[in-house]
Symmetry: C2
Subunit: 354 residues, 2 copies
């Protein structure tokens, strides 16, 4: 059996309290005795205070949990998520805090169990939609958390860091509209759960359940409504995942149709890269014959010449972790809206023939 603090104390002939102090409160005992204790510990092969026991007694753990809607491996696959995490980890590093990356299972029961069993001091909830039960599980757990978007059910103490999705989306859509495009398609990931890839009917952008998607679609719609193109005239395309392949699959049908859109506005760069792939396969390169826009401005976007909206990914992660680890003094400080920038590159151009 591994030795415990008690064994060390016994070996030296002091009380357990003193042995404990040798580790966590050196000022509470003489240097000589402390050296003796540490020495005995080394001799006995005592690995230092058990972190679990210490956490239990102290009441905190020294780690924060990062929750993802999708499977954990997604976190490492999506470039935006990766940069977000880099930001979170930077702050955590500074606080000597570890990150517990947590997969979020699909079914509600297991979500609860995952949240309830995590040894953490708080949660950073990334990319979770309106699945209120996830948040509820965390609240029931009674620990602080921060989300990456304002929530419909937000309480006054809720903390979040986000962007103005609607305005950001509108900025890129305004750009596309100004180029003369009127027959456009909007492309989003999982507009409705379980929906097949390709065109999808929705009464309005507000019907998209995921708040981020909803915000962006609404922003797109705003811009076209302003130039006289109402929602029903916009083609909504559903992708079954946030990946290049899913983006490509989602546009395949309409691109092959008789009246393809003159522009595709995607809710993420990854999706729009899929659109570029699909066009490239047909020997096309935007903006001819179709303009394409993305969202996020990941590294690949620049290389692909993609017109997109930049949001500060690392900054977002950094701030999220700060909100968690450096609790805001007033509730109002718990909300942060980050700026976004329209980045115009070569994937957008005037409507052909205009």
């Amino acid at each position: 059996m591994k030795p415990t603090l008690q064994d060390v104390a016994d070996a030296v002939g002091v009380s357990r309290s003193t042995a404990s102090n040798a580790y966590s409160r050196p000022d509470q005992l003489s240097a000589a005795l402390r050296a003796k204790i540490l020495d005995a510990a080394r001799r006995l092969g005592y690995p230092g205070p058990n972190p679990t026991a210490r956490s239990l007694r102290r009441g905190f753990v020294g780690a924060i949990g990062v929750l993802f809607t999708s499977e954990l491996s997604y976190a490492f696959t999506d470039p935006f998520a990766v940069r977000f995490l880099a930001g979170v980890s930077r702050t955590a590093e500074r606080h000597g805090t570890s990150l517990l990356l947590m997969p979020l299972p699909a079914d509600r029961a297991r979500v609860r169990s995952v949240v309830e069993n995590a040894s953490v001091d708080g949660f950073c909830v990334y990319c979770v939609g309106d699945e209120e039960w996830v948040l509820q599980a965390i609240r029931d757990r009674g620990q602080p958390y921060v989300t990456t978007a304002p929530r419909a059910d937000a309480g006054p103490d809720d903390r979040y860091v986000g962007i103005d999705e609607r305005a950001a989306a509108r900025s890129v859509a305004d750009h596309v509209a100004a180029l003369g495009h009127r027959r456009v398609a909007l492309l989003a990931d999982t507009v409705l759960p379980g929906a097949p890839p390709g065109p999808l009917r929705l009464a309005g952008p507000g019907d998209a359940p995921h708040p981020t998607t909803r915000g962006r679609l609404t922003g797109f719609a705003d811009a076209f409504a302003a130039v006289g193109v109402a929602w029903p005239a916009l083609t909504l395309l559903n992708a079954t995942a946030n990946s290049r392949a899913a983006g490509a699959a989602a546009v395949a049908e309409v691109l092959a149709g008789d009246e393809p859109p003159t522009a595709v506005l995607a809710c993420s760069d990854v999706l729009s890269l899929g659109v570029l792939d699909m066009l490239a396969a047909a020997g096309h390169r935007p903006p001819h014959p179709i303009s394409v826009t993305g969202f996020d401005d990941i590294a690949e976007a620049a290389a692909a010449g993609l017109t997109t909206v930049r949001q500060p990914a690392e900054e977002k992660g950094r701030l999220a972790a700060e909100l968690l680890l450096e609790p805001p003094t007033t509730p109002a400080d718990g909300h942060r809206l980050l700026p976004t920038d329209l980045v115009v590159r070569t994937s957008t151009g005037p409507v052909p023939g205009s």
Copy 2:
């Protein structure tokens, strides 16, 4: 104060043991009583058994620690590391185990403290060199661990998953040598700690302290020795980090010199992409006037037409986690060597004028 299990037990009028069983051993009590307990818990706002206390009593945590030599954020910046992590997380997911990503501080004292304070059941040590004290800290902690390369100081019970670095490096160097290249440069990250970017003198490849670098440089050297080019005739270039920029900076000087190498062999794709950047800035595109090779075969390598050595990144992560979570029955099963493939693309070609 948050209610505890005792409060729930009291509220229902049962013993704490029974309340505990309601959560962790449902077969130990009648369904009716269990429902009553769970109900009372809900009413009281009891968040379920405290994970820390549970871990303490049960003796395990349900998480494994992933250790990085460099700062944590690096993990999300290096594409190879990201894919490795994706593999680890896939296995962890299957085991219902979380990943604790752990930054590894530069100084020894803090390394010990990080390792000693982590609440985990084992460690996956990624990309750590011969810093034996890191491993020693883990061993002292008395927990299982797996490394991503065989170690000089490996005990019989050590577990690792790696590749034959030397042979893999040799395969790509053989390819370059066969193309006629004799005046070549080898590019590696942090050959010697603190060394400046650019040319570096080393008595032999075996003098590189980091085992991975040492293995690859040795493989490169083997190939050229076989065609009559001895080590001192090879130019060794040091990069100060594993990044594109560092790769570019490392080759700047020799490329601008009178007798630039006809080929640059890098120890990672990221570095070689930096070389491509530098060449592109001068209006060149390999293999003219210089051939370039990488190592790892990350996603960007294909797009860049980079000749490289593929190693199965995700597979490596997957196996590492399995070695940890599904302990090998015999010590021999604790070692895995993964296959590598030479991937010839367009960045290598015959020596100009041959």
